[in-house]
């Protein structure tokens, strides 16, 4: 009953958030200068044709009318069509002229659904690696505040945060793929191709995780129940892993939920560097091509995912710590 009412309440709020985000993005993308139709039709297209296309696509209607039309589509699961991508999914470029002979345009939703699982796989692996590493570094750091494991955690996070992901990506690809031949790097032909980009993402993700984990671990270890636990006869390992970690995982979870939207920024670059066919590559190509319907669709889908992930995070957090109420 609790879970159900929680979900109903949060999902309603979530729907509202996604709606606000959609409106914001929709408006923002329409005040950007540069006529999307010109982008779509190509530089060589005559003005009259551009006006014609714009009219046909309803791009000269008031924004609110366009938004209404768009949202009624979204509700039915239709995120519109890409401006520039053909149905076969190729990313396109160049001075493509929009004449009547254009191939059928790709559905935004299809494009997203095709690439999303790839990115989820990448992000999932990255989070697993980042968490494993952060635990390895952060827990000893949190258990020994001020001593060397703490400093080690501090220096590692300092160094990691100053590594630009595209720099690191290239270095790791050179080292692990070209020089040592341990891992494949470019493109995607199997799970092994996910590992290297995931490592790069994990490095980007872990400084904040390490820091949060160290701080909250150190904080929890100061809690009375930890000290009392020892007197009650619990072993240190049990206190650390059974209790302290459990408590420290709540802020960590919240952080992960928030980090998701930051993760997309990293995914973007990393997928581009490694030519990994996920949502990030789709996004960066959409941005580079100014494919507005696609950008819009991606933004709405990611914000929806973000909202869901945070609902899930909060749900898990309340399950871990029943004092929390959302």
């Amino acid at each position: 009953m609790f879970v159900l009412s929680f979900l109903v309440r949060r999902l309603l709020q979530g729907a509202l958030i996604v709606f606000i985000v959609s409106l914001l993005i929709f408006t923002l993308l329409r005040v950007v200068p540069g006529d999307p139709v010109r982008l779509m039709a190509g530089g060589m297209a005559p003005e009259a044709l551009i006006e014609q296309i714009a009219k046909d696509m309803g791009l000269r209607d008031p924004i609110i009318v366009q938004f209404g039309r768009y949202m009624s589509g979204v509700v039915q699961g239709d995120l519109g069509q890409s401006f520039v991508r053909p149905a076969n999914g190729a990313s396109t470029g160049g001075a493509n002229f929009n004449d009547s002979t254009r191939g059928e345009r790709a559905k935004v939703l299809d494009l997203i659904l095709e690439t999303l699982p790839m990115t989820l796989q990448l992000a999932g692996l990255a989070i697993v690696i980042a968490l494993a590493f952060s635990f390895l570094v952060g827990i000893p750091g949190g258990l020994a505040p001020g001593r060397w494991p703490d400093r080690l955690a501090f220096y590692i996070s300092s160094i990691f945060v100053s590594l630009p992901n595209f720099w690191l990506g290239i270095i790791l690809a050179l080292l692990l793929s070209v020089k040592l031949g341990w891992l494949p790097a470019i493109g995607y032909q199997g799970f092994a191709y996910t590992i290297l980009p995931a490592i790069v993402l994990a490095v980007e993700l872990s400084p904040v995780l390490i820091r949060t984990l160290t701080a909250s671990m150190a904080g929890i270890m100061m809690e009375p129940f930890v000290a009392v636990g020892k007197v009650r006869g619990l072993s240190r390992r049990r206190i650390v892993f059974g209790h302290a970690l459990r408590n420290a995982s709540v802020p960590l979870l919240n952080l992960l939920g928030i980090q998701f939207s930051g993760l997309l920024g990293g995914v973007l670059i990393v997928e581009f560097i490694f030519d990994y066919p996920g949502l990030g590559l789709l996004t960066i190509n959409a941005v580079l091509q100014r494919d507005f319907p696609l950008i819009q669709g991606i933004a709405i889908v990611t914000s929806a995912i973000f909202v869901f992930i945070n609902i899930a995070v909060d749900l898990v957090a309340t399950m871990i710590d029943p004092r929390l109420e959302y």
């Binding site: 985000v21 993005i25 200068p33 400084p207 904040v208 990611t302």
Partner: protein, 307 residues
């Protein structure tokens, strides 16, 4: 309950540093740590170098000398020269001067962005956490919405309107990253708000605004600012991501971001171009971080408890 609480702690700190005002005491305690001195020294060296070296050396960071391009840093590979201690880039500009000027701009971007984030995030978070109820709900829903808009989308929208100038970039980065701070501030304020000293201040007749600004802000901001040092670096890196998609600071102005983004192509045979700013970034950050950590520790020691 810690052991110390049970004992009337008559002197937790050495007697020598008593009597002075609290901020001075924190400062003095921090200064007594080698780590802090080391961090401060490095930070000062970098600062002084960034402020004075480019003008003093007389080398124009945008002046190119195509013949002298891709000279390696001192001693590292054949062909180095004292004229360019850190080598030159792909069109023969001096890397040392470029890195230092880049440090200025990146620092400007990083610090102003974080300042903006802190201003917006902390004030909204504080208002939400302090008043609670409907105000809280509205602010937090806005925060969630903002948090779920990927930065890059906001970037093309805003930077598409104006040419990507430094203020515009600061605006974009700052506006897209404040929600984290709003959330953190809100949660801290919500716990602090329930404490009795807030109630005491209300009974004294202090207005809500006064309580937030004079009582809560000085209490909750330092740890948040300490954490935000990491964000300064992240923002510098983000700026390079913007450069990556053509929305960064326009050349010839050097920033760490665009030096790294441009130098990426030469990583194989002129690794220093993309690496030097990273090294500078790492050193700057570590020195600031080091000072921050020591200050935080000193603060906690003077204030006698965990934050």
């Amino acid at each position: 309950m810690s052991v110390l609480e049970a004992i009337p702690a008559k002197s937790v700190e050495p007697e020598s540093i008593r009597g002075a005002s609290i901020s001075r005491r924190i400062w003095r305690l921090a200064m007594s740590s080698n780590e802090f001195r080391f961090g401060l020294a490095i930070c000062l060296i970098l600062l002084i170098a960034a402020i004075f070296y480019p003008e003093w050396s007389g080398i124009d960071p945008t002046k190119m000398n195509v013949k002298d391009r891709l000279i390696p840093p001192l001693f590292l590979q054949q062909g180095w020269t004292w004229a360019h201690p850190l080598g030159t880039d792909q069109i023969g500009r001096d890397m040392l001067v470029r890195s230092l000027v880049g440090l200025r701009y990146s620092f400007l971007i990083g610090v102003s962005t974080v300042a903006l984030m802190l201003c917006v995030g902390c004030s909204l978070g504080m208002i939400a956490g302090y008043f609670g109820g409907k105000i809280d709900t509205v602010i937090m829903r806005i925060t969630d919405a903002q948090l779920s808009i990927p930065m890059i989308i906001l970037a093309i929208a805003v930077l598409g309107v104006s040419r990507p100038t430094i203020p515009a970039i600061i605006l974009v980065l700052g506006l897209s990253s404040w929600p984290t701070y709003a959330r953190v501030t809100r949660s801290v304020v919500m716990t602090e708000r329930k404490r009795e000293y807030v109630r005491a201040a209300q009974v004294m007749g202090a207005s809500n605004f006064r309580i937030m600004v004079r009582l809560l802000a000085p209490l909750i901001l330092p740890p948040i600012i300490f954490v935000s040092v990491l964000d300064v670096a992240r923002m510098m890196i983000f700026e390079s991501i913007l450069g990556f998609i053509g929305l960064g600071v326009q050349p010839p102005t050097p920033t760490f971001g665009n030096i790294i983004a441009d130098g990426r192509k030469y990583l194989l045979n002129a690794w220093w171009i993309a690496t030097m700013p990273g090294v500078f970034l790492c050193v700057t950050l570590t020195s600031i971080n080091l000072m921050g950590a020591v200050l935080e520790r000193a603060r906690n020691r003077i204030h006698g408890g965990a934050s």
